[in-house]
């Protein structure tokens, strides 16, 4: 790519990021840094609009019992036929490593994906992840050949343990699931990024575009969101806002932030030429 701004690319015209800003999870190369959840949308039409606006390549799902009393097909997949996405089933509802492993095996049997988001909540009110059970499940599923992406609290030490256990990416939460509180501990997320040799994806708790930009400015590889898009007044509009926020934060991270100063420093001209 040579000079000039390419309006179709958020990185167009920036020399050090010329070309595609891709990244990898396991053996898979990704272009989008947006993982979108598929819960809580008002209807399938709005959901498909939001998915299209997000540019997401990875979609998350949950696994539940088929409702045998309802004749209609309530599987999410019926709306996504003929589209190519990477499916990231989660293990939501699991309270132990054993339950999460069971759900992961069921998900893989669908033949759609060997990726799994390990999500093990020990507390109904906060849905915060159980780090010990999450580590156990990650160890087991890595050995079984899954591409494991654990959702975990923003603790740098447990994140490192999960990486050592073979997680393909680490997904620390910004805040509890569905709260939209934004990054409660940017310091920890920054440390996790510094320490990690696998991609870091902020998952859960982001509320709006500025939260997403802040996460990306800290150097995370991507974000996973559901509620802030699905529960927006205009989900497709918010999906696009999040996509742009990811691009803005990523570009700011790559371009390098100025250092913070305690006092003013003039940006206009030389003092000696001031009008007297």
């Amino acid at each position: 790519m040579s000079g000039g701004i390419n309006p179709s690319s958020p990185f167009g015209g920036v020399k050090q990021t010329a070309g595609r800003d891709t990244w990898r999870i396991g053996e898979t190369t990704l272009t989008s840094r947006f993982f979108l959840g598929t819960g809580l949308f008002p209807n399938p039409y709005v959901q498909m609009e939001a998915i299209a606006a997000s540019g997401a390549e990875v979609l998350t799902f949950a696994i539940r019992r088929v409702n045998l009393e309802a004749a209609e097909d309530d599987s999410i997949l019926q709306h996504l036929q003929d589209r190519s996405f990477i499916y990231l089933p989660n293990t939501s509802g699991a309270r132990t490593a054993e339950e999460a492993v069971r759900i992961a095996r069921l998900a893989r049997a669908s033949g759609l994906s060997d990726w799994v988001k390990v999500e093990i909540s020990a507390n109904e009110r906060t849905l915060l992840p159980d780090p010990i059970e999450t580590l156990k499940a990650t160890e087991i599923l890595v050995k079984e050949g899954f591409t494991v992406l654990p959702y975990i609290s923003d603790d740098p030490i447990i994140c490192k343990k999960l990486e050592e256990a073979g997680a393909a990416a680490i997904m620390p939460g910004a805040a509890p699931i569905g709260t939209g509180l934004g990054l409660l501990n940017p310091y920890n997320i920054g440390l996790i990024v510094e320490e990690s040799r696998v991609p870091v994806i902020v998952d859960a708790g982001l509320g709006t575009a500025s939260d997403v930009t802040q996460a990306m400015e800290l150097g995370v590889s991507g974000v996973l969101m559901n509620t802030p898009v699905a529960k927006a007044k205009n989900p497709a509009g918010m999906a696009e806002a999040m996509k742009l926020a990811i691009a803005a934060g990523r570009l700011a991270y790559l371009s390098g932030r100025m250092s913070k100063k305690r006092y003013a420093s003039a940006s206009s001209g030389l003092d000696s030429f001031k009008l007297q």
Binding site: L40, I76, N90, A109
Partner: protein, 65 residues
């Protein structure tokens, strides 16, 4: 025979897991099955015999984050 399907006891005239899926109107749908705690891929449904009291779970993908 009596089978426990998704936690509920049902009376079904079935010999194989494929019969169960068909009788429940789920043939061709993106459903994953587990019989007595073991995952059974759809290719193996026709060769998986069911027996009275067997616990069968039928799951699928739903919206989630």
């Amino acid at each position: 025979m009596e089978l426990i399907i998704n936690g509920t006891t049902r009376e079904l005239e079935a010999e194989t897991l494929a019969d169960v899926v068909e009788l429940l109107g789920l043939t061709g749908k993106p459903v994953v099955a587990e019989a007595d705690g073991l995952v059974v891929t759809s290719e193996a449904w026709a060769s998986t015999a069911v027996r009275p009291g067997m616990s069968i779970e039928l799951v699928h993908f739903v919206g989630g984050g």
